[in-house]
Symmetry: D2
């Protein structure tokens, strides 16, 4: 019996992590085949990562057949799981998403604000096509998406593609749980956080350790500056006032929304001094790939964890494991709300605790949004709907509406300036906006 | 460390089952104290059951301290779990609930129709008082209610009492799962049924075995007459047409609603020949208690399973076990909807699959009611709200509204006749209706 | 400038009423053209009605050009309003709708129970085709539907046809308002009833006279037997208990649901003695048409009011007048709920007070269903959805679901018997069920 | 028969407008008594306005008895309508609401942003007390509130006071309708705008003239700079892009939200040059009162219209007229949503077209929020709920939550700075925050 995993974006520097995760779980998740897939542009990286992965498997002694290819359709034949971790336009495009807004005095970030909108616009057509392929070639395969903006992409696919076996993952809830465990000095398995909200805008509402309530303790630690930010975003900490008033665990991305001025000042300074975060990551990646090429390396190198995406793959492997084994355990993923948060649309994709079984992810009832965040979370979800609409339609007015309704833009004239400039900068990756970008 | 369980209605003939369940799970659920509580009227039975229970524990060798008392408040001190299995007015009252409607040509049944309404009316004041006691004496205790009508009682307590740690249980979902396992020739643990609806009006929507869909197979078996009725209700079977059209697993109580004429004919015939079901149960109980008195008996006697309530206690023990051990497994219980079925009120109590942890039961998203049952399930829930309103208010008009809106009554004049006659017959147990019953 | 009204089912005996209504309002509603349309089968009646109508117009001296035709498409060209008052299969079909259920011990009625379901099944395909024609030939025309079951037909067209300018009308709210005015001894214009519910299952919630609350007074009159039934249905009156408990004004059709046994007994007796109501109406119609043929008759004859549908046309004319003149007055019609009753689906068609303007009917907020009727009204609406689904699909299982979920049937075996017999009896008018009736 | 109107805040310079409105409508609204009420602090103004009002009535020849008093409770006896137009803390307090936020780089405005929050905080306790008085002294009286922030105050009273006959009014919808009429060169009576949203954040969705759709024409005019701002706020105009993308008529206050940077720059410049708007208004008022004191003046002086509130009183008079005469006409007021906009809470107060009758205002169905504004309107409403909660509780954390969730603040540290400074500045008018302000 075969168990085949296809990794789209297989040339990513993160891939060794997923390979390691698969090897580690091989007793319960007996993978027989892995195919790494990438695009022409990523051919060289794919080769390097493929060879490193083979060495890792060889060392593990597991009977896994790993190959790599540029032929996605061929690769998908017989797949049981397809993990997707792509970056349309590469780090060059990300650099523009960061630079252009910053240069006009707006937050310039990979998945938030104007940059995040364009990351979605570039990614939506590619992912829609991929979902279509999966639906036709391996309709029973589960698509585990960790391509960002993960919530928006997952909602796009679940609502608009033919394939409905799609689950979105993010490392933020994982990190929040692990950091919380660390500060409480317990193991992550003992900690459960009741999450409420949407991807990159999720809050922790209640922390329990073995079923006992430790929310108060964690909030107190947060007031003392507990840091659970991934490497790719700033950490300014949260004031006692904010924590006392909201009584919620914010996630690191909330700094962009509630500490906008300071983050902006810090980011502009960093940009002026060191260029965009994308450019720094390019450097980091370059050195990672130098490591990967070492024919004696047959392990995931520790340096990988310095990137923001650490644990993403661990989350994905854990998810595949529970689906495969019909485990019915609780994991935090992105899927349809289905009434778990009654204030949000029934068919909104939210980031929430779910029961994971062979039938996918079913949300566990969460309850209404706390009054303090009710409005802002609803608005962020409504904004995401505008992004999806524009990302699919390629309509200029739709795109403008998404831009002006983003709380990090929200400016009649600035919206137009950013929109026009970004449309031009990314035009090679925006086929749907062809009419606009010429 | 102590773990104390209080069994209200401890003199019930079902109690040996719960004792057996506790003994069997003692390794994971290390109960230290059990107190059986009953009312003056049930003193003798309590003595018999108490002694039998002691013999069972002695035989098991488990270090459990079991006592019995008529002093409920005293018993509740330090309780961790309180299971409630009472019958206000005893089987004599039940006989009236069955006889009076039947004598006017309406369904006369313990938990359905006019009889079920009055069972609720008698039970609501008693259970409200009990919840109040629990809330003051042992506020951290979980109240596991299997007093019928379980859905209505659970909703009454969750909405209107101060105590909010209340979970309702019923053996119908358990029986449906076990019968389904039997006909598929697998173990019950491998079967999961997605339930949708409310207590005694719940349907099975989807059957999976180890995560694979077997709904079609089970529906086909149903067409061939699969019987998963408990002993206390008729089984007329379901036609192919009904199963093909609804594509749902009905539960045995649905016969009262969709085969009314035939059930009524059968019940009237049985009543004329053998008296009410209550009277038959009295006989059965009598012989059970004769068995129980045998000082050599130190096991739950097999004869107990002939009563309809078999497995009720198993369901309750399993629930206590998962709460105590923060198991996060899936069980079917009665609790707040919380959006699991978006067509029903958010704060309606439904019978649904939940994650069971130290924090109680959280429903897993189910989805909208299938169109065929949407109306009737909604109506049954609205009817239950009318029963609760009247059961609390003791207002004649409220009671009339509950009666006329019950689909098994639904008759302008008949509602008044039944209401007046039942109010008179049960007046000793209806303090809230004092003004009406004089 | 022209103003053209097309009357589909123009050969109906009701047509003189609509003609009279148009003549009476000619100053404010300056109709220039009326075309009466009917089918081949109704050719003779159409001729008689057409000639009488011409005489009525001639007498009035109004410059209205009236013609009649069997060519519906031709007639629709340039229409501003299309009123529809058809009866597919004629009174012969209605006789079957009444006879077949009665013969099996179920309510047999024109628009309720099994008969009403089949009236819907016969009518839906014809009305869908008509809406399609209107949409293509005169897309700006308002379709004023008084074909029964008016609520179901209106919902079918609004949800499933391309034409969205459809408003349903019924004389029940009109009659309730007029009867109420009569017993309060005020003019109907002074009375407003807040209606809540759906066509033929609507209740009056509040009665105001010139803005002052008279609900109590009217309920007291109802307890004394106030009769506002149209001629075509029984009136058994309502008990004080029912009125006191519900605090609502029922409509005459509610007798079928809450006085089922008595109505059934009465109807079966009447049927055995005098045949079906349809057959009586045939007699009545025959004598009406004898009157109509009198070349000296140039008025609507008084005898017309004896039929149940009296005032239907008045309601329709009043509606056309308010649309034409952008009056923004309040009228009771059938249209999309749109939140007026939050317990019912947003896109359910309800019978409700609306503001009538050139843009059609907009419901005025009503509020939640009173708790006593919440369940039953919701169920009736859910039942109607099942009828529409089956009426469009022609699927046997869908039809069975509609039948068993009708509160006047609600019987596993009886549903099949009625369904099979009625499918056979009406097969010439059920093209969508061809496969079943073959 | 008497008809008595009590004007709370009767010493306002706007009062002559309401007097004029009453005189003008005297034939249909036969007012017999007017009492102007004000507080000790406004005694002199009250005298001046009272005398002017008497002269106006004398000139009109209407038999209206007008008096003025500082004794509010006495004044309320026998009232039929109570109009409220107060400003707690006067223009001095408003100056602080403007100055303090501006000095920290935030929008400083009377009813928006941090200033608007504090206007609500000062006003809520006073209005709650007033509603309590009305409820006890003249429970049948309609309270017509045009005290700002009108939407928030109306929601506070409708949800939290005992008096439920409260309707909120604002001149923005009136102005939008009149300006629209002007640019279309028709009379305002012919124009209807379908409004969607909440007070000061309402949009126009559709414009009809005599029932015909003119939305496109009006949007085109807006792109050319149509100005319907009242005198008290800036008008920067809207770009074609914004209008094309949203397809909605914004109201002037939307500039604060979508043109924040420019408005802020302009306001800071104006502030530096001329002080706050409040200070300018003080000048304006001073000169108005000089005019009012002229014993020969017996008309509303034209100069009054220069203030932003023009037509407020006209709106109020028109409303009283329709209530008194049970007119059932359409007016735009602030009242419970009741499902008119299904995306907003059922019990949110919205600004919407209503049917006005003796029974108050009933919203006409509007439909879902257009996708572009769905999120932002929902958030503004959720923000208002936070303001109400804090305004009632006087809790610091509640107030912080309102502050940080206001889109014009939305800053972790800035929220605290503004909150602390404004609490201190207004402490005399914030009894509920006593604990915070010492």
């Amino acid at each position: 019996m075969s168990l085949k995993i296809v990794v789209i974006g297989g040339g990513s520097s993160y891939t060794p992590e997923i390979i390691e995760g698969i090897i580690r779980r091989h007793d319960s998740l007996p993978v027989t085949d892995i195919v790494l897939v990438d695009v022409e542009n990523g051919k060289d990286k794919l080769q390097v990562v493929g060879e490193l992965s083979k060495r890792m498997i060889l060392k593990s002694g597991k009977p896994i057949n790993l190959t790599w290819t540029l032929d996605r359709k061929q690769a998908l034949i017989g797949a049981d799981f397809v993990s997707t971790q792509i970056r349309v336009g590469g780090l060059e495009a990300r650099a523009k998403d960061e630079r252009i807004p910053l240069s006009h005095g707006f937050i310039g970030q990979e998945t938030n604000g104007a940059g995040g909108i364009f990351k979605a616009f570039r990614t939506i057509p590619v992912m829609m096509e991929m979902a279509e392929d999966i639906h036709h070639i391996c309709p029973e395969a589960w698509m585990i998406n960790f391509t960002n903006p993960a919530g928006i992409i997952t909602e796009t696919l679940l609502k608009h593609s033919a394939h409905d076996k799609v689950i979105g993952v993010c490392n933020i809830p994982f990190n929040m749980r692990h950091s919380t465990a660390e500060i409480l000095d317990v193991s992550p398995e003992e900690v459960e956080i009741e999450f409420i909200g949407i991807n990159h805008f999720v809050f922790g509402k209640k922390v329990t350790v073995n079923g006992l309530d430790y929310t108060e303790e964690v909030l107190n630690k947060l007031k003392q500056g507990l840091d659970y930010s991934p490497a790719n975003i700033v950490n300014l900490g949260w004031s006692s006032t904010f924590i006392d008033a909201t009584k919620l665990l914010p996630n690191p991305y909330h700094q962009y929304y509630f500490q906008t001025k300071e983050v902006l000042a810090k980011d502009i300074k960093a940009f002026n001094e060191n260029g965009t975060r994308a450019e720094n990551v390019q450097e980091l990646e370059k050195s990672l790939f130098e490591l990967y090429q070492n024919p004696n390396l047959n392990d995931k190198p520790k340096e990988l964890e310095e990137r923001g995406g650490a644990f993403y793959s661990d989350v994905a492997c854990s998810l595949m494991n529970s689906i495969y084994n019909n485990k019915k355990d609780v994991q935090t993923v992105n899927t349809f709300n289905n009434g778990a948060i009654p204030d949000l649309p029934y068919d909104a994709v939210i980031e929430t605790n779910c029961i994971i079984s062979k039938n996918g992810a079913k949300p566990i009832s969460v309850g209404p949004l706390p009054s303090v965040i009710k409005g802002v979370v609803y608005q962020m979800k409504a904004f995401e709907e505008l992004v999806i609409k524009a990302g699919l339609s390629g309509n200029y007015n739709d795109a403008y509406n998404a831009m002006i309704m983003n709380p990090l833009v929200s400016d009649e004239k600035g919206s137009k300036i950013l929109l026009d400039e970004l449309l031009k900068a990314h035009k090679d990756y925006l086929p749907q906006f062809e009419e606009e970008t010429g």
